[in-house]
Symmetry: C2
Subunit: 548 residues, 2 copies
C-alpha cells in the first residue's frame, strides 16, 4: 500500500465503485482499560490482576485471533486517538495531551495551594515549568485551524474507498468550535454521541447520562434521550445503537467500518448493576468492584457484537480489532485498591510513559488471514493502525496531507501468526512464556522488531505533581526502554525482557545503550520539533537528553 503525501485535501471525492468483497472492519476500542484488566493474559504468565476480571468474550476473541503482546498507545486519550486516525506519532503531531472540551484551552495542569494540600504530593516543581506549545485543539481535517494538526483522517479514506463508516461512542480528537469536533468531518457517515467529550458525565440512565439541569457539563452524553430513565447502562445503550447502525450497510451489501469507542472504563467509576455483585461477593472493595463491573460491561458488549456478526453470517468477512487507548488509570482513588498498583506487574498507569501507562491490549481477528489463537511479540504502536486498516481495506494507494509515521502490521499479523502456529506445531511454543518469546523476523513482517518507538508526555497531568507521570519521555527499542525525566534531567534504562516492571534501572551498567537511545530519542524529538516545556526561571526550553 502506498500512502502519498499531498498538499491539500478534497473532502468530497468523486463517485466510488464499491467492491462488495471488501472485508468489514470493526475497531473496538476501550477507554482506560489496562493491559492486565481482563482475564485475557497478554503477558508471559497469568498475573494476579488478570484473575480479578471476568471477560469471557475477550477470551473468545483471543481464541479466534492474534494477540499483539507488545502493543503500545500514548499515555492519555487524545494522542492515541489522533494517532490512530492520522498515522502520526504524538510527538510528531504535537498532540501530546488530551484536548479540552473548549477551544484554545490547554489541558495542562498547573499546581496550586489547594491542590497541593489535597494531594499531599511533592509539589516543589509544580510551577517550575512553562507548558509547551502543543496542538491544544487536537486534529483538524480542514487546513488553517489554530493549534491543530491538519491531517487526512482514516475514515475519510475508507469512505472514499466504498466503506460505510460508522462512529459510535467517544471521539475526543478535537475541541469545540473546530471541525475535528465532529466525526462527520472525519469521514464518518453516521455518528452516535461522538464529540469533544473525553468521558461521560454519567453512565447511568437514571441520571440521563449527565443531562440534567442540576448536573450538566460538556461531558453529558449527547443524543441518547431514548434511553433516559430506562435503567439501561451507557455501555449497553451504545452497543444497541452500534448494532442498529449496521442495518443499512448489511441490507445494501456494503462493506462497513465500525469504529466502536466505548466510554467505559473511563471515570466516573460507577457500578454496572448487571455485574457488580459478584465482584463484591469475591471480596473486592467498592471501587474495585465498580471498575470490574464496568470491564465486564464492555466484555458483554463485545460478545453481543460477535453474536450479532455470527447471526448475520458476517463473522467470516469481518475483521475485529480490539484495543484500548492507554494504560489503566492507577491514580484515581475511585477505583479502590492500592493506588498505582492496579497495573502490576507494570509500573504506574495512565498518563505515564512507564509500561503501565502505554502498554495496551491489542487483538486482531481476521478470518482466513490471521491464524487464530496465536501471539506476536513485535512491538507495535497506535499509529501503525492507520496504514494497517487502509491495507486491510484493500486500499492500494491513497493521498494524505500528513506525514505518516506508522507502519502496516498486515504482514506481521498474517504471516507472523502463521509462523507462530507452525512453531507451536513443531513444539517450539509450549506455553505463554515461549509464545511471547517467539520472534517474527523483519523479513517476514516488514516490521523491524528492533525499531524505535517514541513516547512523549511533556505535560503536568494533575494539579499536583506525579513524578512517574509528569514531564516524561521514553523510547522502546527491542528489549530496551529508556525513560527521560525532564524535571530532573535524569535518564533511566530498563531491560523489559527481564524487568517488565521497570523496577531495576540499569543506566549505569549500560552507558553505551543509554547514549544510543538518548541520541535516538533526542534526534526524533528534534526532527519533529516536538513540544517541550520551558524553565520558568530562564524561559529556556528544557534540554533534550543528548544536550545534557
Amino acid at each position: 500500500m502506498k500512502i502519498k503525501r499531498i498538499a491539500g485535501l478534497s473532502l468530497l471525492a468523486p463517485s466510488v465503485a464499491v467492491a462488495a468483497e471488501k472485508p468489514n472492519i470493526v475497531f473496538f476500542i476501550v477507554d482506560d482499560m489496562g493491559w492486565v484488566d481482563s482475564s485475557v493474559a497478554y503477558g508471559e504468565e497469568v498475573y494476579p490482576n488478570n484473575m480479578r476480571y471476568n471477560t469471557p468474550n475477550m477470551q473468545r476473541l483471543a481464541s479466534q485471533g492474534v494477540m499483539l503482546t507488545n502493543a503500545y498507545a500514548c499515555p492519555v486519550s487524545t494522542p492515541t486517538r489522533t494517532s490512530l486516525i492520522t498515522g502520526v506519532n504524538a510527538a510528531h503531531s504535537h498532540i501530546t495531551n488530551w484536548t479540552s472540551t473548549m477551544r484554545d484551552t490547554p489541558s495542562d495542569a498547573t499546581g496550586g495551594a489547594v491542590a497541593m494540600m489535597q494531594s499531599g504530593a511533592n509539589h516543589d516543581n509544580t510551577t517550575r515549568f512553562i507548558r509547551p506549545e502543543w496542538n491544544i485543539n487536537g486534529m483538524s481535517p480542514v487546513e488553517g485551524v489554530q493549534s491543530t494538526l491538519y491531517a487526512t483522517p482514516l475514515p475519510q479514506l475508507l469512505k472514499e474507498a466504498g466503506y460505510y463508516t460508522i462512529h459510535v461512542g467517544k471521539a475526543h480528537w478535537a475541541s469545540a468550535g473546530t471541525p475535528g469536533a465532529s466525526p462527520y468531518n472525519m469521514g464518518f457517515v453516521v455518528n452516535i454521541t461522538g464529540n469533544v467529550a473525553g468521558m461521560p458525565r454519567s453512565y447511568l440512565s437514571e441520571e440521563n447520562y449527565g443531562n440534567t439541569p442540576e448536573k450538566w457539563n460538556y461531558l453529558a452524553v449527547q443524543n441518547m434521550t431514548e434511553y433516559y430513565g430506562t435503567g439501561i447502562h451507557l455501555t449497553e445503550a451504545l452497543t444497541r445503537e452500534a448494532l442498529k447502525t449496521l442495518d443499512y450497510p448489511i441490507q445494501h451489501n456494503q462493506p462497513f467500518y465500525l469504529y466502536f469507542a466505548h466510554y467505559a472504563t473511563h471515570t466516573p467509576i460507577q457500578r454496572d448493576p448487571r455485574f457488580v455483585q459478584k465482584y463484591l461477593d469475591a471480596g473486592m472493595d467498592e471501587g474495585q468492584a465498580r471498575y470490574a463491573s464496568m470491564v465486564e460491561g464492555v466484555d458483554k458488549s463485545l460478545g453481543d457484537l460477535l453474536d450479532y456478526l455470527e447471526r448475520h453470517n458476517l463473522e467470516k468477512n469481518t475483521i475485529i480489532i480490539f484495543m484500548t487507548d492507554n494504560g489503566g488509570n492507577a491514580e484515581n482513588r475511585a477505583k479502590g485498591g492500592v493506588r498505582f498498583m492496579h497495573n502490576l506487574p507494570l509500573r504506574n498507569g495512565k498518563g505515564s510513559v512507564y509500561e503501565g501507562g502505554i502498554r495496551v491490549p491489542l487483538m486482531v481477528k481476521w478470518n482466513g488471514k490471521v491464524t487464530p489463537n496465536t501471539r506476536v511479540n513485535t512491538p507495535v504502536i497506535c499509529e501503525d493502525l492507520f496504514p494497517t486498516i487502509l491495507s486491510m481495506a484493500g486500499i492500494k494507494s491513497c493521498e494524505v496531507v500528513q506525514e505518516v509515521d506508522g507502519q502496516s502490521l498486515v504482514n506481521l499479523i498474517t504471516k507472523g501468526s502463521k509462523l507462530a502456529a507452525k512453531a507451536q506445531k513443531r513444539g517450539e511454543i509450549t506455553d505463554q512464556k515461549s509464545a511471547n518469546a517467539f520472534v517474527v523476523s523483519e523479513n517476514v513482517s516488514g516490521i523491524d522488531p528492533q525499531r524505535t518507538l517514541v513516547f512523549h508526555y511533556p505535560h503536568q497531568w494533575k494539579p499536583y505533581d506525579l513524578e512517574d507521570i509528569d514531564y516524561l519521555s521514553a523510547v522502546r527499542k527491542g528489549e530496551w526502554k529508556l525513560v527521560y525525566r525532564m524535571r530532573t534531567g535524569k535518564i533511566e534504562l530498563y531491560n523489559l525482557s527481564s524487568d517488565i516492571g521497570e523496577t531495576n534501572n540499569v543506566a549505569l551498567q549500560y552507558p553505551d545503550k543509554v547514549k544510543e537511545l538518548s541520541a535516538e530519542l533526542s534526534s526524533r524529538l528534534r526532527e519533529w520539533k516536538s513540544p517541550m516545556p520551558s524553565v520558568r526561571e530562564t524561559g529556556k526550553r528544557v534540554l533534550l537528553p543528548d544536550e545534557l
Copy 2:
C-alpha cells in the same frame, strides 16, 4: 400504491435491491412559520403580511413547483409530525398535543394564580376540565410502549425500499425514554440533532445552542459542538450538516430521503444577525425584525439546498416538498407586532383550529411530473404526505401496523398541475384569484375536493385561557368550516370561500350544514375514540357536537 395493515412489524428487513432510478426526496419542513410568513403568497392575493418578508428562495421553489393553496397541518407540532410519519390523523392517533421532553408527562397546561395574573386573561374555566387521556408519549415504532401510537414509520419503509434516509433538525415525535425519541428507530440511517426537543434552547453559537452549565435544559441542541462559539447561526449550521450528509448517497449513487426539519422559526425569537438589520431599517419593531430574520435564515437554507442540488446535477431527479408544521405563532409576545394579528387575513395562529393555526404553506417541486408555477386548491392535510411520499418513492405496496387515514396526493399534484397549466394557457386562469379558484375534479386526482378534514385540539395550550385555541375541534368540507367549542358547547360555521378570516359565523343561517358537519365531526371522533376532556364537576366526558 397499496398499504396493507399487518399485526406486527419487523424492523430489520431482508436485503433490498436499490433502484438507482428512484427520485431523491427532500422534505423541507419549517417550524411555526405561518401561511402568510413569506413573500410567497398562497392566498387569492398578496396580503400585507406577505410583504413583510423577503424569501426569494421560497419564490424560486414556487416557480419550479406546484403550490397547494389549501394545505393543512395540526394546530401544534407533534401531531403534525406524527401524522406525517404515520399517515394517521391526530384525532385518530390520539396524539393531539405536543409531547413533553420527559416521559409520562402530559404537556396539557393547567391554570394557576400566577399564570392568571401574568396573562390577564379570562380564566374562569381554567380548571373546569380534566385533561383527556391521549398518547402523551407520542408515537412508537415498537409495540407496547405506554401512551404511544404504535406505528410503522415512513422512513423505515423508505429505507427498506432502498432509500438512504437522513434526519436533520427537529424530531419531536416522542418523549425521552421511549423508542420514538430517536430517529434511528424511525428508519433513519443518519440523524443530526433530532430527539425529544420541540424547540432549541438557543439558536446562537455564542450560547452553544443552549449547552452551558448555567443555561441548559432538555432543549439544548445536541451534538453540534463543532459550531460552538463560531458565530454560526443554528439554521446555517444545520444546513451545512444536511448537505454534508448527502455526500455518501451521492457517491454511492443511492436515492436519498432527506427529512430536513428546521427548528426555526420556533421560539426563542432570536435575531439572525445576517438578516435582521434590513427589517429594523424597514421600521419593524425588534420582535418583528427578529422573526423576519429567522424566516429569511430558513429561506437562505432552502436556497443553499437548491444550489447544492443544481451543482451536483441532482435538481432534476430530486423532489422537494416544502411545508410548515402548523400556523404561525400569534400568541407569543416576543414576536412583536400586535398579538393574534400575525397571520391576517387568517384568524388566530398556532394552537388554534382556526385557519391561522392550521393552514400552512405547501409546495412540491417534481421535475417532469409536476407542472411548474401552478396552483392546486383541493384541501389536503398533513397525513396525506405519508402515502404521497411512499408513492413518489415508487413503492407499490407495503405493510404497516397502523390504519392510515391520509390519501396520496400524487395524481392531484401531477395531473392537477398539468390541468391548471392548460387552463392558464386557455386563458381561464389569469391571476392569483382565478388560479386559486380552479378546481381539480376527483376523477382526475383521486381526492374528493369535498372530503371532510378533521382537526381536534382537546387541550389547554397555555397556563391561561385562550378562547380561540383551547378545547376546540373543527371540520373543513369544501368551502365550509365548522368549529366546535368544548368549553361552551357552541358551534360556529364559516364559509371560507367568502370569509377566509372566519369573522362571520353563519351557523344560524345554515342549520342543515351545521347539522351535517356536526354529525360528520362527531361520528369521526366517536369512531376514532378520540381524546375528549371531562368536566371536573361531573367527571363526565364533554359531549360531542351531535350529543348537544
